[in-house]
C-alpha cells in the first residue's frame, strides 16, 4: 500500500476513503474509537499526495492509515485515556511515536478506546462504554488496547499502536485475530505515552501481518533522548531477516504458560500445533519449564498498581482536566479524584497505595520486586538453551461482555501468560493461529530475550506461514 502511494499509482486520499467507508459501515456497532479524525486525516493524506506529486518521498508508511490508542499524546487533539478525569484536555505536544509516524507519512485516522488508563483486560473499564469484538459483537475485544485491536480486525485501519503493561497489546491481538507486539522495554520511546506503570509500559504495533508489524516497529523504534529509559540504539532491523526461516533455531514451549489450569483445549492445541509447524519448518522444538513464571500475576498485581498509584497522583485537579471544587485544596483533590476516576482505577490506586504504605512495603512491594528478579533470572537461564519461546497469549478466546466484570481477580487472571515478559522486559508478540472455542481466533505467543526482536519476528513469520494465512 505504501509502495503504491510512494510510486503515485494510488493516492493516499483513495486509500483513506476506503478505510473511512469501513469505519462508517461498522464503527457504530464496534465502537473502536473515542474520536475519528476525518478532517485531520484528509489534510494529512492531501499533504502526502502533494509530496508525491512534487517528486518527494513521503516515507515508508506513505498514506497508510493508523489508529492510535487514546493514551498517546496528540498535539491539540483530545487525549482522554478513556477517563473522565482528563475531560477536555488537549496535549500541548505530540508523543515521540506520533512524530515518527507523521514523519514516515502515516495518516492518523483516530484515537482508540481503552480500559481507563490502560487498566483492564476487556476494554469494559472505559468511561465511554465498551468496545466490541468485530468477530462476535457479544464478546469483548480484550484489553486494554481493545479499541486498537478491534480497529485493525474490523478493517478500520491496517495498522494501530497500543501500549502493553501486562499484556495490553498481545491479549487483545489474540482475541481479535491480529498480530500484536510488545517490544523489548526501551526499544520504543515512552515520551508522550500517559504513564501507567513506568517500569513495565511499552508501546508496540498491531497489524494484520507479521511483516506489517515489523515495518511499523522499524518506524517507531530507536533511541529518543526525551525518554531516559530508551535504549541507546537505532530501531531494530527486522524486515531484512524476515524471510530467513527458522531452520536450526531452538524453540521452547513454556509449560507454565501453556499447560495451566483454566486454559481452553483449543488454545493449548494451537500452541502445540504452532510448535509442530515450526518443527516442520526446521526448528528444534522442545518443552521447557520456567517455574517462577507461576508467580508472575501475583508480583505484577503488586508492582503495577504500586507504580500506578504514584503515576496517577498527578491527577489532582490543578494543572489539567477535571476539577471538582471544594473549600480547601485537599478536599478539592479528593473530590476531583473520586469523581474523575472509574472503579478499576480507584481499586488499583488503593491496592498500590496499600502495598507501598508503611508496615506493608517490604511484605508486598519489596517481595514482589525480589520475585521479579527470580522471574528475570529464570528466563535468562532458559534463553541460554533456546533462541525463542512459545506459549499461549490468552488462556481463552474472547469472552462475553460482562462475564468477568463482577470479579476483579478473574479479570486479572486473563494476563497470566502475558505478564512475565513485562516483568522481565523481554520482547513478546502474539500471532493469530487458527480458531478455538466457538470458532473464535486464537493467538500464539512468541517470546525472545532482550533485543531478540529479529529472531522473534522470524519465528512469528514461520508460525503465520504454518497457519496457512496468506499475507494480504
Amino acid at each position: 500500500m505504501a509502495a503504491d502511494v510512494r510510486a503515485g499509482t494510488r493516492s493516499a486520499r483513495e486509500v483513506l476513503d476506503e478505510y473511512f467507508d469501513a469505519i462508517t459501515d461498522r464503527e457504530p456497532e464496534v465502537h473502536a474509537f473515542n474520536v475519528v479524525l476525518s478532517e485531520e486525516a484528509r489534510e494529512a493524506a492531501a499533504a502526502v499526495d502533494a509530496a508525491v506529486a512534487r517528486g518527494d518521498d513521503p516515507g515508508p508508511l506513505a498514506g497508510v492509515p493508523i489508529a492510535l490508542k487514546d493514551n498517546m499524546c496528540t498535539r491539540g487533539i483530545p487525549t482522554t485515556c478513556s477517563s473522565r478525569i482528563l475531560d477536555g484536555w488537549r496535549p500541548p505536544y505530540d508523543a515521540t511515536v506520533v512524530q515518527r509516524l507523521r514523519a514516515a507519512g502515516a495518516i492518523v485516522v483516530g484515537k482508540t478506546n481503552l480500559d481507563e488508563f490502560a487498566m483492564g483486560s476487556s476494554t469494559e473499564n472505559s468511561a465511554f462504554g465498551p468496545t466490541r469484538n468485530p468477530h462476535d459483537l457479544s464478546r469483548v475485544p480484550g484489553g486494554s488496547s481493545g479499541g486498537s485491536a478491534a480497529a485493525v480486525a474490523a478493517g478500520f485501519a491496517p495498522l494501530a499502536l497500543g501500549s502493553d503493561t501486562g499484556g495490553s497489546i498481545r491479549q487483545p491481538a489474540a482475541l481479535c485475530g491480529v498480530v500484536g507486539v510488545k517490544p523489548t522495554y526501551g526499544v520504543v520511546s515512552r515520551y508522550g505515552l500517559v504513564a501507567f506503570a513506568s517500569s513495565l509500559d511499552q508501546i508496540g504495533p498491531f497489524a494484520t501481518t507479521v511483516e506489517d508489524a515489523a515495518l511499523l516497529l522499524e518506524v517507531i523504534g530507536g533511541h529518543d533522548p526525551l525518554d531516559s529509559t530508551s535504549i541507546a540504539r537505532p530501531a531494530p532491523d527486522l524486515l531484512s531477516g524476515l524471510g530467513d526461516g527458522v531452520s536450526g533455531l531452538r524453540v521452547g514451549i513454556v509449560d507454565e504458560m501453556t499447560e495451566i489450569e483454566g486454559i481452553e483445549p483449543g488454545v493449548r492445541d494451537a500452541v502445540r500445533a504452532a510448535g509442530a509447524g515450526l518443527e516442520a519448518a526446521g526448528a528444534k522444538v522442545d518443552t521447557v519449564s520456567v517455574p517462577s513464571a507461576t508467580y508472575g500475576i501475583s508480583a505484577y498485581y503488586l508492582i503495577a498498581p504500586a507504580e500506578a498509584s504514584s503515576n496517577l497522583a498527578r491527577y489532582d485537579g490543578v494543572r489539567y482536566g477535571l476539577r471538582v471544587d471544594a473549600d480547601d485544596v485537599a478536599h478539592m483533590n479528593a473530590a476531583t479524584r473520586e469523581s474523575g476516576f472509574g472503579p478499576e482505577v480507584k481499586r488499583r490506586i488503593m491496592l498500590g497505595t496499600y502495598a507501598l504504605s508503611a508496615g506493608y512495603y517490604d511484605a508486598y512491594y519489596g517481595q514482589a520486586q525480589r520475585v521479579r528478579t527470580l522471574i528475570l533470572r529464570d528466563f535468562e537461564r532458559v534463553y541460554e538453551q533456546f533462541d525463542a519461546l512459545l506459549a499461549a497469549t490468552s488462556p481463552t478466546v474472547a469472552f462475553e461482555l460482562g462475564a468477568k466484570t463482577a470479579d476483579p481477580l478473574a479479570m486479572y487472571l486473563c494476563d497470566v501468560c502475558t505478564v512475565p515478559a513485562n516483568l522481565s522486559g523481554h520482547p513478546a508478540m502474539s500471532v493469530p493461529f487458527g480458531t478455538g472455542e466457538a470458532g473464535l481466533p486464537v493467538g500464539v505467543q512468541v517470546l525472545a530475550p532482550t533485543l531478540g526482536e529479529p529472531t522473534m519476528f522470524r519465528v512469528a513469520g514461520a508460525i503465520e506461514a504454518a497457519g496457512g494465512r496468506t499475507p494480504r
Binding site: R337, A355, A363, L374, P408
Partner: protein
C-alpha cells in the same frame, strides 16, 4: 485469611490516596482488596532472603544530558489546560487556614 483488610485500612489508604470514597465503595473495596491481596500474597511463599529486588528491567543508571537552554512548552498553552489559572499561575483553593 478473612481479615487481611479491614474497613479502617481502606479508610486510611483512601486518605493517603486522596480519594473521597463513597460508603458503597468502602464496603466493596474492603472485600475486593482482601481477595486480591490473598492472591498476591502467594509471592511471600518464595524464599527470597538473598535475592536483590528488581525495580527496572534495564541495567541503566542515571542518564545525563548536556545542560543547554532549549525551548520548552509555551506557558500560555500549558496554562490554558488548567481548570483555573490566574496571573500566569495555576490557581487552587486555600491550602491552609488563611482567607483566600
Amino acid at each position: 485469611m478473612a481479615d487481611r483488610i479491614t474497613r479502617a485500612d481502606v479508610e486510611h489508604v483512601a486518605q493517603l490516596a486522596r480519594l473521597a470514597l463513597s460508603e458503597t465503595e468502602i464496603v466493596s473495596l474492603t472485600k475486593e482488596l482482601g481477595a486480591i491481596l490473598d492472591h498476591a500474597a502467594q509471592v511471600s511463599a518464595l524464599d527470597t532472603h538473598d535475592v536483590p529486588p528488581t525495580a527496572h528491567p534495564l541495567p541503566i543508571a542515571n542518564v545525563f544530558r548536556a545542560d543547554e537552554v532549549r525551548p520548552c512548552l509555551p506557558r500560555d498553552e500549558v496554562l490554558a489546560a488548567a481548570p483555573v489559572a490566574q496571573e500566569q499561575r495555576f490557581r487552587v483553593p486555600r491550602i491552609l487556614g488563611e482567607e483566600p
